[in-house]
Symmetry: C2
Subunit: 182 residues, 2 copies
DNA sequence: TAGGCCATGTAACCGGTTACATGATTAG
DNA sequence: CTAATCATGTAACCGGTTACATGGCCTA
């Protein structure tokens, strides 16, 4: 999903500053749709304003940096709904952890253990994040997605904890000769 | 994961042509690590050969296009193992389906239904692909990853089938006034 | 007082995609 | 006879990242 559509999607839920948009698609509730950094957010926002898809207003809280708050125009909302109309692209899932798991035999047991620990911590953090967004949720679509995420992540976590032993058992088995020689 | 490491990873398992590498990381067993197209595979392969991380040999089956088969050198294998050593980046999961689900209220019930159908079909196809790679598997790491994938996808599929009704029920609820006016 | 967070923005760079060029074989 | 699959490669283009510039406030 490109920067334009992603920004439109976020602004469809809540008016935001560039800074908030970035936070939202890095850690927040919108992190499942795409990933963009300041270098593409601010220029895209400027372009969208020229195209009349968003408007901005300045806000100045004393003792805080000035905020430029963007919100979707009716034109922008239409553009977003139009973008939603065509069938979605396939989900993308990319995992370096899976590569480490697949090559566990040629990796050190410590590295494999560390990778598993890290992944468990990541999933737990994500679970906490989703729960936070879902418990006090009043928006049906967001709730459904949140509960979906919680179920899957929970299952993932339990599976990993149950089966991590098996993976650690095969870790380093292709290195034994080499390390014995050292 | 960048093209270089991904290619090294694939060649670590099996010697391949550029064409096969592309297939493997588009549909095959390596599709969970990264996604690259011809435009980056062939030039990267050429660079890797200059760096002595891979070697190539030509193969000519009569009645077939000539194949340039690349394989990892010892230097390349070392480079790959070194790359595996540092802790993996977080898993990345991006889903346009989730955005459609989240915005189901402002989308048409047909589009939502279609998106769900499509996603179920995608997961089923992926499940079939993983099972194919896992049933006759003799490599411990690959088996572990395959079983992991099967479990998660199966759970995902069941959850989706059980809860799709709820999502379809909220689809279009924010459009009723508009469509009534039309 | 150092580091982290809030906040906006720019410019150079680059990795990777898209589209093109080419051509033989096989399946429907 | 057409479409798909196998097969290798190039060049232009571009979306997005990285790194930089700037600066005030708050917390440890």
């Amino acid at each position: 999903m490109n920067a334009k559509t992603l920004i439109l999607a976020i602004l469809n839920f809540q008016e935001s500053t560039g800074y908030e948009i970035r936070k939202n698609c890095t850690d927040g509730a919108f992190s499942y749709f795409g990933d963009i950094s300041y270098g593409s957010i601010y220029p895209t926002l400027a372009k969208l304003e020229v195209e009349l898809l968003v408007t901005s207003r300045m806000e100045q809280d004393p003792g805080k940096p000035e905020r430029k708050i963007y919100s979707l125009t009716e034109l922008g909302r239409g553009e977003f709904i139009k973008a939603l109309a065509h069938p979605p692209a396939k989900d993308k899932f990319k995992s370096e952890f899976l590569l480490i798991a697949m090559t566990a035999e040629t990796n050190t047991p410590e590295a494999v253990k560390h990778a598993i620990d890290l992944r468990i911590a990541d999933i737990e953090a994500e679970l906490a994040m989703i729960k936070e967004h879902t418990t006090d949720c009043d928006h049906a679509g967001t709730c459904w997605v949140g509960e979906y995420g919680i179920s899957i992540k929970q299952f993932d976590l339990e599976y990993l904890k149950k089966k991590r032993g098996e993976l650690q058992a095969i870790a380093g088995t292709a290195l034994t000769m080499k390390s014995a020689a050292e």
